[in-house]
């Protein structure tokens, strides 16, 4: 089984860190020394319970303020699966961290405080999860202990959330509701006795039974060339291997292929993983491919199966999540990094801003500020080879790099 990465989203004080700490505690993933440190600090602060959030909040400022600032990665495993939890902050101003955490995740948990119900930020968290096309989402209704484990309250929140679901763009997203108390451990790892009315699984049980088809996106095979391997040794004098990762599907020896952008035809001659040759390379394997013909291929080129071409264009429209304090304005130039390929791009126009709380779109926008999400059309100095994000998560996404600061200033999902 591949490692499953789970993104978490919740507002301040929804108990996200506590939930993660609880999972670690109940799966016995916390080592004695870490547990002792939590006990010690909890006692120092005068708590009469163990503050599990101390297990994850790593930076000094986070511990001082009792909040999570940056995406933290937490690792644990069960007999069945290995998990990575991306603990992303829930503040309004940290949309970029949520998008970042969700971009590498296959499943996610949205936390709702049972006392507060669906709030504006819940809309936002759900919107981002849906925008990034995460296949499996758990809505964890937390702090059930503080509402007397009320079924009525749970049902009310479920109904409110279902209203949101009708507005979503990616309708196939699977959504599961689970009532929990992270603090008390109800329905987190173990089924709770406090809510006999709830017939579903505990949170971790849910993830344990997911299989590959439930969480991983498939598509057509794409092989972006990362690096050309030319050993120039006596033994491998004429060896010319194309190193890269296979995305979307499989590639096999003998496949008729095209190299983009030149559209030169060839066949796959060999597939290497280290010093072994294989007949087929499955998705997400980092292999080295050799071709029948001696053609010129370099980094940024893409090997695809004949008859299975992506769109090759110098213009595209994408939903952009802007992550920088500078403004994105029409006419501005950025580097588009699409996989391992980089091209120079100009913002042709901002079509409209999308309110991530499902309150509609806004036209006549002059610029984008940090955390804005908008439909933007770009013109490129040379063509890229892309698929729509909804068909290919990898080949349909890109990042924007500021040409002066070199910072990653935005992410985009091609429409």
């Amino acid at each position: 089984m591949e490692v499953i990465k789970i993104a978490t989203a919740g507002s301040v004080d929804d108990g996200k860190s506590t939930l993660i700490g609880r999972i670690l505690y109940d799966t016995k993933s916390l080592t004695t020394d870490k547990l002792e440190a939590i006990e010690k600090t909890s006692k120092q602060r005068g708590y009469d319970y163990l503050d599990f959030s101390l297990a994850t909040d790593g930076l000094v400022a986070e511990r001082e303020q009792g909040i999570t600032i940056d995406v933290a990665h937490i690792y644990f495993s069960t007999a069945k699966k290995s998990y990575i939890i991306a603990d992303t902050p829930g503040h309004v101003e940290y949309t970029r961290n949520m998008v970042t955490g969700a971009s590498t995740s296959q499943a996610s948990i949205i936390l709702i405080d049972a006392r507060k119900g669906v709030i504006e930020q819940t809309n936002r968290h759900f919107f981002i999860n849906n925008l990034l096309r995460i296949k499996d989402v758990v809505v964890a209704i937390n702090k059930m202990d503080l509402v007397d484990y009320s079924e009525e309250i749970y049902n009310k929140i479920k109904a409110d959330f279902s209203e949101l679901m009708s507005k979503r763009d990616y309708q196939d997203q699977k959504i599961t509701f689970i009532p929990v108390s992270a603090l008390k451990g109800d329905n987190v790892v173990n089924k709770s006795n406090n809510m006999p009315w709830y017939k579903g699984q505990a949170l971790l049980e849910h993830f344990e039974q997911l299989d590959k088809a439930d969480i991983f996106n498939m598509g057509t095979p794409r092989f972006p060339v990362q690096y050309v391997i030319r050993p120039k040794t006596e033994e491998f004098h004429d060896f010319r291997g194309y190193a890269g990762k296979v995305y979307g599907g499989e590639l096999s020896v003998g496949d008729d292929i095209l190299v983009l952008p030149s559209k030169t035809r060839s066949k796959i001659k060999e597939i290497y993983f280290y010093d072994q040759k294989y007949q087929t390379a499955s998705r997400r394997s980092s292999v080295t491919i050799t071709l029948e013909n001696d053609i010129n291929v370099s980094r940024g080129d893409m090997i695809v199966k004949e008859g299975d071409l992506p769109t090759i264009d110098k213009e595209f429209t994408a939903n952009v999540c802007w992550m920088d304090s500078t403004q994105l304005v029409p006419g501005a130039k950025y580097v588009v990094q699409h996989g391992v390929n980089k091209v120079l791009a100009k913002v042709d126009r901002i079509n409209h801003k999308i309110h991530p709380d499902y309150s509609g779109i806004e036209k006549d926008v002059t610029g984008l500020g940090v955390n804005d999400i908008a439909s933007v059309t770009f013109k490129l100095n040379k063509p890229i080879f892309y698929d729509q994000f909804k068909n290919h998560r990898t080949n349909g996404s890109f990042i924007l790099i500021d040409t002066q600061s070199n910072n990653t200033v935005g992410a985009g999902f091609i429409q």
């Binding site: 089984m1 490692v3 080592t31 004695t32 020394d33 870490k34 440190a37 600090t41 994850t56 790593g58 930076l59 000094v60 400022a61 511990r63 600032i69 940056d70 995406v71 933290a72 990665h73 690792y75 495993s77 990575i84 970029r96 998008v99 970042t100 590498t104 990362q226 391997i229 050993p231 040794t233 033994e235 491998f236 060896f239 190193a243 990762k245 499989e250 993983f273 280290y274 010093d275 294989y278 087929t280 499955s282 998705r283 997400r284 394997s285 980092s286 980094r299 990094q337 996989g339 391992v340 998560r393 990898t394 996404s397 890109f398 990042i399 790099i401 600061s405 070199n406 990653t408 992410a411």
Partner: protein, 304 residues
């Protein structure tokens, strides 16, 4: 020949990810270097790099920042590995930084050269104009490291600005930097300690002998087992030297790495021991015990 089912297990998917990252380093940077400590994580990195570029050689050198307080077994191992694989090794010594007056040797019971390494490392980066330094840090090791990026940008002073990190989305690694900046690269960010050991076992990778149970002269202090080497580790007269069957779970300097009692003499026994351990890996790192935020502070100053 068969289908390469690279995604059927956890360790394979981590291996694929690490190879992808190492190839990005070779493609995006002009002067990368692999920071080699002789510990299991950097040995694992070397193995991954061999696989990533086969049949060509690893396209970057190794660099060891030698504190002069290393376990002799580690140094012997380092030199043998480099020779066998035909790699280029650069060594820079903390002793030289001390002699030049750039750093001051710590004194007292807890004296260690661990912190001093940072200065020697930053000087070497400047000397060779390295733009990417590959390291074996893992996010599961420690709370501050859990927030580290795979491509982590450092400023002219080697500093880590933890609150202002570049977002990393999907597989895309942005290696563009300004003059004077460099990038620390962590290809095994997502590996756990157990993953590393399982990989060493599966790949049959040779590691220094101190990782296996052996008889050693040690003394006890603060509940930890310290190596008794009077040249390097300060010891009070009342701290009695005893012989114990121990091994090291993590290998730093003699002055900052404590041993654990163990009878694991083979790799499979080590894996078994880690699997059942209730103490975290860095629980035996004296350098992390200085305060709750010891690692974060060192990282801000340019530590690995």
């Amino acid at each position: 020949m068969s289908t390469i089912k690279k995604d059927t297990s956890n360790i394979n998917s981590l291996e694929n990810e690490a190879i992808y990252i190492l190839r990005e380093v070779a493609a995006q940077f002009e002067k990368p270097v692999l920071l080699f400590s002789g510990g299991k994580d950097s040995i694992t990195l070397v193995r991954l790099a061999v696989k990533a570029f086969y049949p060509a050689k690893i396209p970057f050198p190794l660099m060891h920042i030698d504190t002069g307080h290393n376990f002799p077994e580690t140094i012997e191992f380092r030199d043998r590995l480099v020779k066998e694989l035909g790699l280029e090794l650069i060594v820079r010594n903390v002793q030289d930084s001390i002699d030049e007056g750039k750093v001051k040797e710590e004194s007292g019971r807890y004296a260690s050269r661990n912190q001093l390494q940072t200065t020697t490392l930053l000087d070497a980066i400047e000397e060779f104009k390295f733009d990417a330094c590959i390291g074996g840090a893992r996010r599961d090791e420690e709370k501050a490291r859990a927030k580290e990026r795979i491509f982590s940008v450092r400023d002219d002073f080697g500093q880590w600005d933890e609150k202002n990190q570049r977002p990393e989305l999907f597989d895309m690694l942005n290696g563009q930097i300004n003059l004077g900046q460099n990038v620390r690269v962590f290809p095994i960010s997502n590996w756990t300690e157990l993953d590393v050991w399982s990989y060493i076992e599966r790949e049959n990778i040779e590691i220094p002998s101190i990782y296996f149970a052996h008889t050693r002269k040690v003394f006890l202090r603060d509940g930890l087992i310290w190596s008794a080497d009077d040249e390097v580790v300060y010891r009070d007269a009342h701290e009695e030297v005893i012989e114990e069957l121990v091994r090291f779970r993590t290998v730093g300097d003699m002055s900052c790495t404590a041993a654990v009692l163990s009878d694991a003499t083979t790799i499979s026994k080590v894996v078994e021991e880690i699997r059942e351990s209730t103490i975290s890996e860095r629980g035996a790192r004296i350098d992390d015990k200085r305060s709750e935020a010891a690692m974060e502070k060192r990282k801000q100053q340019g530590y690995f």
